[in-house]
């Protein structure tokens, strides 16, 4: 690979070798190792790898593909409608997972798999069987499987669900491996077949176990599933090499392949910074290790097994671990803060909420199973009827119009919009009046959306709920008829009151959206005492507490010349900042509808 024109490109051959090794180890024990998450765009490199795996898997091992949007019935098994209609009695259909018992299922585009499909796979991986309770069928079928999850995620946002990855032994990334590096592997299918037979006889001694568990701890790999998987992979590695007992190399390979990709911290906290900057040495594979030991034979011999293993694993830790950790933290944050948004987009279509009588068409979907269920009891009667009428009575199932059932979808959960209005100072009256207008506009519109509105004002010593959550326009008009304004700005009290009210709303299963109208300049602290410094500090503290509750919020600054105070506040609250100088009720309600 030392082509002079390409010296600057990193050498990935060791990584490719590791990927091939993982394929072989997976082929030795697909069920025991749970699965492989393979991150790579579709292309020749991935094809070569998958081809290798299929070659290594013995012919008798079942291999099934799961399409991305697989129907639950097909995955788990359920009622075989065609056969049921033909036979005139319920006929169960075996699901893909049951068909793959003892073998491998390949999951395409695993980064986009639905949460429920991921949960079914996890359950099958945990229990080694599928339990079906659907369509009038109760069944348990064995489904001991290994999963090959093809992850085509292009960025950090797209990833295989964590529930699945946690149950997999291997996490591979073929991302930067070039085609000419993907050389054919010299692992022989016969070797794998032998290893499969030999696997049960391999023993693991205490020192190997200690080295694996110690390495997992040192790398901050919390889940014990990873340790169990590493243990099994070490055994598979020993079997692959024809050993009766797990040796140091096997433990190293397991740590490198299973534990290193899951590291959440570096083993030695003193030197992470420099380490991070450098390109890590290429991870050694089995052959390289030998050379390594030759270079420093003395030292290597003296080191306890755990340290050797740790070193080997360290070398395989992704070079940008720190950056990835930060990304991970951010991702979690963004995921949770976007929670209500996610629910919303999912519920545009709504959750299925049972079925009702009705005719398909115009967006309504026929629920075949329920339709049949309704039709079923009448079949005998209808057949008799037909016979009496002299019609052909050999129809197996006669479905009439009355039997049609369509799937009902549930509307999204109720949203409560909470206006928190800064009623202090000279601009108070303007802000209050426009907020009131917006409340009325929203309520008029809410009649259709079945949403609620509340209003809190803060001024002088504290905050006051002017309008408790309501759907009634009349009540809102009455409560907001006279609005008091002027005085100091107890921003902290206002935010606290909003958070408490929003908490109540979420506890009742609703979604709360908080609209804070302020210029962000506090001058009354939490205890109701004046003073800019303490007041601002309290406001920020309240804003941070607000952020923890992860509510959807919007800070609207209506002052003619917006200053940065409100924007800082919005950031602290995890809210969207919107400067709207000279805004009126209409603009305000428009903005609110855009966020909620």
């Amino acid at each position: 690979m030392n082509d002079e024109n390409h010296v600057t490109l990193p050498d990935n051959s060791a990584r490719w070798d590791d990927a091939c090794l993982a394929a072989a180890l997976f082929a030795v024990d697909p069920v025991g190792s749970g699965g492989i998450a393979l991150r790579a765009l579709p292309g020749p490199v991935r094809e070569i790898w998958v081809e290798l795996l299929r070659e290594l898997l013995p012919d008798e091992v079942p291999f099934r593909r799961i399409p991305l949007h697989v129907a639950d019935g097909r995955l788990l098994g359920g009622l075989d409608l065609a056969a049921t209609l033909h036979a005139g009695r319920p006929v169960a259909e075996r699901g893909l997972l049951a068909e793959a018992d003892g073998g491998v299922v390949q999951l395409a585009m695993a980064e986009r798999v639905s949460r429920s499909t991921a949960a079914y796979l996890s359950a099958a991986l945990d229990n080694g069987e599928v339990q079906v309770e659907r369509d009038g069928i109760t069944a348990r079928t064995p489904a001991r499987i290994g999963v090959l999850a093809l992850d085509e995620g292009a960025n950090e946002e797209e990833q295989v669900p964590h529930t699945l990855v946690d149950r997999f032994a291997f996490v591979l990334d073929l991302g930067d491996i070039r085609l000419r590096e993907a050389v054919p592997s010299d692992i022989d299918p016969e070797q794998v077949a032998q290893a499969r037979r030999h696997l049960a006889a391999v023993t693991v001694d205490e020192s190997a176990l200690e080295a694996l568990c110690g390495t997992a701890l040192a790398l901050g790999v919390d889940s014990l599933r990873a340790s169990v998987a590493a243990f099994r992979v070490a055994r598979a590695s020993a079997a692959l090499n024809g050993r009766d007992q797990v040796a140091a190399e096997d433990v190293s390979a397991a740590a490198r392949l299973v534990l290193a990709p899951r590291a959440t911290r570096l083993p030695m906290p003193e030197q992470p910074e420099e380490e991070m900057q450098q390109e890590p040495p290429p991870p050694e594979d089995n052959q390289d290790e030998q050379q390594d030991q030759e270079q420093t034979p003395q030292q290597e011999m003296d080191k306890p097994l755990e340290e050797q293993v740790l070193e080997s694993a360290e070398a395989a830790i992704p070079p940008n671990l720190l950056a990835m950790l930060q990304m991970g933290a951010m991702r979690q944050r963004s995921k949770s803060s976007g929670k209500s948004g996610a629910i919303q987009s999912g519920s545009l279509r709504g959750r299925p909420a049972g079925t009702r009588r009705g005719e398909p068409g115009a967006g309504a979907r026929l629920n075949v199973i329920d339709t049949l269920r309704v039709a079923a009891p009448w079949q005998r009667l209808r057949r008799q009827e037909r016979a009496e009428q002299g019609k052909d009575s050999n129809v197996l199932v006669e479905v009439r119009r009355d039997d049609f059932r369509i799937t009902r979808y549930r509307q999204r959960s109720e949203t409560t919009t909470i206006f928190v209005v800064d009623a202090s100072g000279s601009a108070a009256l303007h802000r209050l009046a426009e907020a009131k207008g917006a409340v009325e506009l929203l309520l008029a519109d809410c009649y259709v959306r079945r949403d609620r509105v509340a209003m809190i004002a803060f001024r002088g010593p504290g905050a006051e709920i002017l309008l408790p959550p309501t759907r009634s326009l009349v009540r809102a008009k009455r409560s907001l008829a006279s609005l008091p304004g002027g005085g100091g700005t107890p921003l902290a009290a206002g935010i606290d009151a909003a958070a408490a009210l929003a908490d109540g709303v979420t506890r009742r299963g609703g979604t709360a959206v908080v609209i804070l109208l302020t210029d962000g300049r506090a001058n009354v602290n939490r205890d109701g005492i004046g003073g800019r410094g303490q007041a601002a500090e309290d406001a920020l503290a309240s804003a941070q507490a607000f952020r923890v509750a992860e509510l959807k919020a919007l800070v609207v600054d209506m002052s003619p010349r917006p200053r940065p105070d409100a924007e800082t506040l919005a950031q602290a609250m995890g809210a969207v900042y919107l400067p709207l100088p000279h805004a009126d009720a209409k603009a305000l309600s428009g903005a609110v509808q855009a966020v909620s």
Binding site: R89, P90, T138, T163, L224, S227, A376, Q379, A545
Partner: protein, 342 residues
């Protein structure tokens, strides 16, 4: 059902194990919720419960596991008819631990028309669902926070009334369905609705052990189990038997365990201090302390018992405090410390 990992082979996780023992001793406490990270053995511990439960007496040939000693109101229709015409025949049966798998459809949970009978014989018959099977036992929901909303509604309704009413497809059936909810989930996947949260008597937070020795033991035992489940279960049979006897003894002892006024007062104070919602917290705290005392072989409830069970009994009932970022466990512990000294 595949063989479950034996309860007595579970390493560490003391709070979890205690909560399960308490729930098995006094079913009226209302179940256990186990929340924790991935790979901590939540479902392992819960699935192990089934093997620990002593047998119970049920009416022979009753599809709802009716209790032969129950008053008429606690019997299903058929058993009431049978009782009217003669004596109920009893037989021994395992206390059911029923899995509610994710993706179960509403008809299988609640019960629906028996398709087979309808299609082959043109007969209208009710086929009981999972709720019927779980009567007098436990209903386990893994990934409870991913459960579909309409199923949660159905569950809450039945759990509150102890009776399942089915009105669908021209069927009109009601049958008793009293069960203990047991759930597990990963908080990262989503939160639980407060109403459902409140149904669980005890909640435990699980994390992986951080010491090398325990972790090694877990890996070793887990692997041993999965390689040969029957042999492994056999190996722990005696230890599991001991746990089962402990539960049986505690059940016997339970009615005689005294709850002194001082303990009642303590419990109220603790709940007030934490500002828990409703009376359920206080009630659960007392009941759990009593069950714990019974398990320990003690005659009356003391501060020690209260202290041990307060975190699982109360941590999921705290109002979210806007100004306190501390986790609920810390808040309960802080309150205990302030109240009980130490």
């Amino acid at each position: 059902m595949p063989l479950a990992f034996p309860f007595s082979a579970i390493v560490a996780q003391d709070e979890m194990k205690l909560a399960i023992l308490i729930a098995a001793t006094d079913q009226s406490i209302g179940g256990v919720l186990a929340f924790g990270d991935r790979g901590t053995g939540k479902s392992t511990a819960i699935r192990a419960l089934a093997a620990l439960l002593p047998a119970m007496r049920v009416v022979d040939r009753c599809q709802y596991n009716c209790d032969p000693e129950a008053p008429d109101s606690g019997l299903c229709e058929q058993c009431r008819e049978r009782k009217a015409t003669g004596k109920l025949k009893a037989r021994k049966a395992q206390v059911p631990v029923v899995d509610l798998p994710l993706g179960a459809t509403e008809d299988r949970v609640i019960g629906a028309l028996d398709l087979e009978k309808a299609l082959t014989r043109g007969e209208k018959a009710f086929e009981p669902g999972l709720l019927a099977r779980a009567h007098r036992g436990f209903l386990y929901i893994d990934e409870v926070n991913l459960l579909e909303d309409h199923l949660v509604d159905a569950l809450l309704d039945v759990a509150a009334s102890g009776e399942n009413v089915v009105e669908r497809e021209g069927l009109s059936v009601r049958h008793p369905a009293k069960f203990v909810l047991v759930g597990s989930g990963n908080p990262e996947e989503g939160e639980l609705r407060p109403q459902l949260l409140d149904r669980f008597g005890l909640s435990v937070e699980i994390s992986t052990p951080q010491d090398l020795k325990s972790r090694m033991k877990v890996v070793r035992l887990r692997d041993e189990f999965e390689r040969d489940p029957p042999a492994f279960v056999e190996k722990y049979k005696r230890k599991d038997g001991k746990v089962r006897r402990q539960i049986l003894n505690a059940k016997d002892r339970l009615p005689d365990v005294e709850v002194p006024d001082a303990a009642l007062e303590r419990a109220s104070e603790l709940c007030m201090k934490l500002g828990t919602d409703g009376l359920r917290g206080e009630l659960t705290l007392i009941r759990a302390a009593r069950a714990f005392a019974a398990l320990e072989g003690d005659d009356s409830v003391t501060d020690e018992h209260l202290k041990r069970v307060a975190p699982p009994a109360l941590r999921h009932r705290l109002r979210r405090n806007v100004l306190d970022d501390a986790g609920s466990t810390t808040r309960v512990e802080r309150a205990i410390e302030e109240l009980f000294g130490e």
